[in-house]
């Protein structure tokens, strides 16, 4: 029977904590996928986790339209932001300011994650739960309804966001600053933008401007990051 020992989920806890009766998400929901892996990572502290609805949540002094989960365990205080870019503007989609703000506000551990890389997401949440003090994780969750793509492409769009450097995955803690998923040959930003129908009316000028911003942001990030 065990001809292949390639069973990928062996590295994750196999128990499902995700409550299916309360799951009213659309098919192919990115947030649903992210929450499922986050729940596996925080295990014992699920009952203590509190949710804040979009528009009601207060983060970094600004009202924002994202879902926030706050978890407390021992000395760890974790804020997880599930960002599905409900605003829908191009500026919001390419340059994420919230992780940078969190770094500036002396959070102990700040990371960006994507449900397309579940092990990376799992490790980061685990690490945040073990860090004393406040930590912040920003998760980009592709939304088939708001971004307008086929529900089966959720994971693929998540990959494209990272591969085009529009949403680089990195972590900042005390004494380290790493880019966790490195892309050898970054794709052009068009690949990410044309996969979503919400950006179909963009002109070539907009895209050129956006890719310049992305390159600038990534250069700044790569400068800060330590060579591993």
């Amino acid at each position: 029977m065990d001809k292949y020992s390639l069973m990928v989920p062996n590295f994750l806890p196999c128990k499902e904590y995700f409550d299916i009766k309360k799951n009213n998400a659309c098919p192919g929901c990115g947030i649903s996928l992210a929450v499922r892996h986050v729940y596996k990572a925080i295990e014992g502290a699920i009952e203590k986790a509190t949710w804040e609805a979009p528009a009601a949540c207060d983060i970094f002094g600004k009202k924002s339209a994202v879902s926030i989960m706050r978890v407390k365990k021992d000395k760890a205080e974790v804020v997880i932001c599930f960002d599905n870019e409900a605003g829908g503007k191009l500026e919001d989609a390419i340059a994420k300011k919230m992780p940078a703000v969190a770094v500036a506000q002396s959070y102990k551990y700040v990371a960006t994650a994507s449900p397309s890389y579940p092990f990376d997401l799992f490790d980061k949440v685990k690490k945040a739960m073990e860090t004393e003090g406040k930590s912040y994780i920003h998760i980009l969750c592709p939304c088939p309804v708001a971004w307008k793509f086929e529900p089966e492409a959720t994971v693929k769009v998540g990959f494209k966001a990272v591969e085009t450097l529009a949403f680089p995955l990195y972590e900042v803690g005390s004494g380290f600053y790493n880019i966790t998923i490195k892309t050898m040959q970054p794709k052009k930003l068009d690949v990410y933008l044309t996969a979503q129908e919400r950006f179909e009316k963009l002109s070539a000028k907009d895209i050129a401007q956006a890719s310049a911003t992305v390159e600038k942001e990534y250069a700044r990030l790569a400068e800060n990051a330590q060579p591993k």
Binding site: V8, I20, P27, C29, R36, P151, T154
Partner: protein
Amino acid sequence: MEATKFTQKMVDCSLLDKGAASPFSPGDKRRGLPQWDKDRCIRCGICYLYCPDGAVYRTADGYFEADEKKCKGCGICHRECWFGVICMEQEG
């Protein structure tokens, strides 16, 4: 020739009123249920890893199946499978 009139039709949707979705279970209106070709499946578990609803589970012989009550038929497993083993079969 009769003039064609524009009439607005109600879309087949059960979510128009608040609480209208509660009698339904998540897998009631799906596009198709994934079926695994067991001859070619290498049991890597990618389908299990990427299922947003936790619908894919592992059976005793190591292969995978989708729970009919949980699966919403999004097709992520079909798209992500390395060997193209999974096909979405329409029901009914």
